[in-house]
């Protein structure tokens, strides 16, 4: 039996984020940006939203987005038509969706097996008290810079937000996306009927995407507030620490 412990340097420091969390975080980031850009391009070809099964230029929209369109068919009020980008946008959208779904599955399995979900994401019993919650909310509203020990674990508001994004918003955006697939719903019709129809699914897909963009913005603002370089370095190399020692 080889003594494997001798090969590990004695000065090993515990990583802030495990290698798998770091890897899946950045793959997800790239996929999300690709999905967002291609999604906006696809949206431009018909910037109108409906509820129910059907909707088109001859029906009343639920609402419209006041931007020009890449199709002459859509009455936008603008005197010009944008170039059609749907071909590569659709290819990219689905390729990125596959990469994101597979990465997400890997992450979910890892989270369950390694204890990442239990230790880092699920709030402890004490964390869910109103006292702790209201203190966290107040801290966030005051844009208070997090304390040093928060560099090593997520606060309760962070945990709840990550749980919502990972286990509610992402599954919902994938579900509503699949509900627009004519072939997929031919095999699984409940996918679309439960959402209220194909156009409802499209509208839900849009709003859940908006929530994910909102999360991204708040997330980046919070990273800046906590110390951009130290937090970003922690997510790249795994090493935690303050800006002072890092720079």
């Amino acid at each position: 039996m080889p003594n494997s412990a001798s090969a590990v340097p004695a000065t090993t420091v515990k990583s802030r984020h495990s290698a798998l969390v770091r890897l899946t975080h950045w793959i997800t980031t790239i996929c999300f940006i690709a999905l967002l850009v291609s999604g906006i391009e696809i949206l431009i070809s018909h910037p109108r939203f409906y509820w129910g099964e059907t909707g088109n230029v001859l029906t009343q929209p639920l609402f419209r987005i006041p931007i020009p369109s890449s199709r002459a068919l859509v009455p936008t009020g603008y005197g010009y038509v944008l170039p059609d980008q749907n071909g590569w946008s659709r290819y990219l959208h689905f390729q990125a969706a596959w990469a994101l779904v597979l990465t997400g599955l890997l992450y979910a399995i890892f989270s369950l097996v390694s204890g990442h979900l239990r230790e880092n994401l699920l709030p402890g019993k004490s964390g869910l008290s109103w006292r702790v919650l209201s203190r966290e909310i107040a801290n966030h509203l005051r844009f208070k810079r997090p304390s040093e020990d928060e560099a090593w674990s997520y606060n309760v508001l962070q945990r709840l937000t990550y749980l919502l994004v990972i286990f509610v918003l992402f599954p919902l955006v994938i579900w509503s996306g699949l509900a627009m697939s004519l072939a997929f719903v031919s095999a699984f019709p409940a996918t679309v009927t439960l959402l209220g129809g194909q156009q409802s699914a499209r509208t839900i897909h849009f709003f859940v995407s908006l929530l994910l963009v909102l999360f991204l913005l708040v997330h980046v603002v919070m990273v800046f507030l906590a110390g951009f370089w130290s937090r970003t370095r922690a997510m790249i190399t795994g090493k935690a620490g303050t800006d002072k020692e890092g720079t």
């Binding site: 003594n3 696809i42 070809s45 068919l73 659709r90 290819y91 689905f94 697939s181 031919s186």
Partner: protein, 252 residues
């Protein structure tokens, strides 16, 4: 070299070899079972192949959703269209009496069918959704003859793998695999909502493929070719769509 790094090297080597062999086997099986789309080359190939393969496995026999009469859209959208060519206008002036659908390729009895002949075959109806890749959709009742019936009439050969179909507009041609070609809801449609199929919706003859997006439901169909290989058609990508940057498979 320490024991650990040697062991690591061997493990990595075995894993890499298994990975390559696994991918090779998967690619071979995918080809064999027709799970690789004709536009699988290039940077989007992986995503396209995953989509086509998984949807083909999940949906080979599933039926597109059908709706009730009350859900039919008041006005079926005639999408924007390029001006129709002189050939079409001549046939239109003659009331489409001379419209012919030629069926050839891997068939025992190639033929040319008039609309009257197509209408003499058992007529079927479906109330299905037409969804455009842009995001809009409508529901209509389509009347026509299942493509599979015409394939039976001409005697499509057992080694047929794809059906290629052409619009009178030379820019627009598509193809589908046999799972879609033989699917009971794949129609040569000549009627809409109890009437003749209007020009705006693809009349007098449109291929109707309710499990894929609208651009696969080619309007003004004049020719159908059965083949076992799409390489010889256009640029070999399967249809006009990938040549214009769009996916060949449009189930999503």
């Amino acid at each position: 070299m320490s024991d650990l790094s040697r062991r690591k090297l061997i493990t990595t080597g075995i894993a890499a070899t298994a990975g390559v062999l696994g991918l090779g086997t998967a690619a071979h099986l995918a080809q064999k079972y027709g799970l690789v789309p004709p536009d699988h080359g290039g940077i989007w190939g992986i995503g396209e192949t995953l989509t086509y393969a998984s949807q083909r496995l999940l949906t080979r026999h599933s039926l597109a959703r059908e709706f009730s009469r009350s859900q039919i859209s008041k006005r079926p959208v005639p999408n924007e269209m390029p001006p129709l060519n002189d050939g079409y206008k001549r046939l239109q002036a003659g009331g489409f009496v001379d419209w012919r659908l030629s069926v050839d390729g891997l068939v025992d009895r190639p033929g040319r069918f008039s609309l009257a002949q197509l209408k003499s075959y058992p007529s079927r109806s479906q109330i299905t959704q037409l969804a455009c890749e842009e995001g809009w959709s409508y529901i209509a009742e389509w009347h026509g003859v299942p493509l599979s019936h015409v394939l039976d009439v001409v005697g499509a050969q057992p080694h047929a793998r794809y059906v290629v179909y052409y619009s009178i507009d030379p820019e627009w041609w598509e193809s589908i695999d046999m799972a879609d070609a033989l699917h009971p809801q794949t129609f040569l449609a000549y009627g809409l909502n109890g009437d003749e199929l209007p020009t705006g919706n693809g009349g007098p003859l449109r291929l109707r493929l309710p499990r894929q997006l609208g651009y696969k439901s080619v309007k003004f169909i004049t020719r159908v070719t059965i083949t076992d290989n799409l390489k010889g058609f256009g640029k070999g990508l399967g249809s006009a769509a990938p040549e214009g940057g769009y996916a060949w498979y449009a189930g999503i």
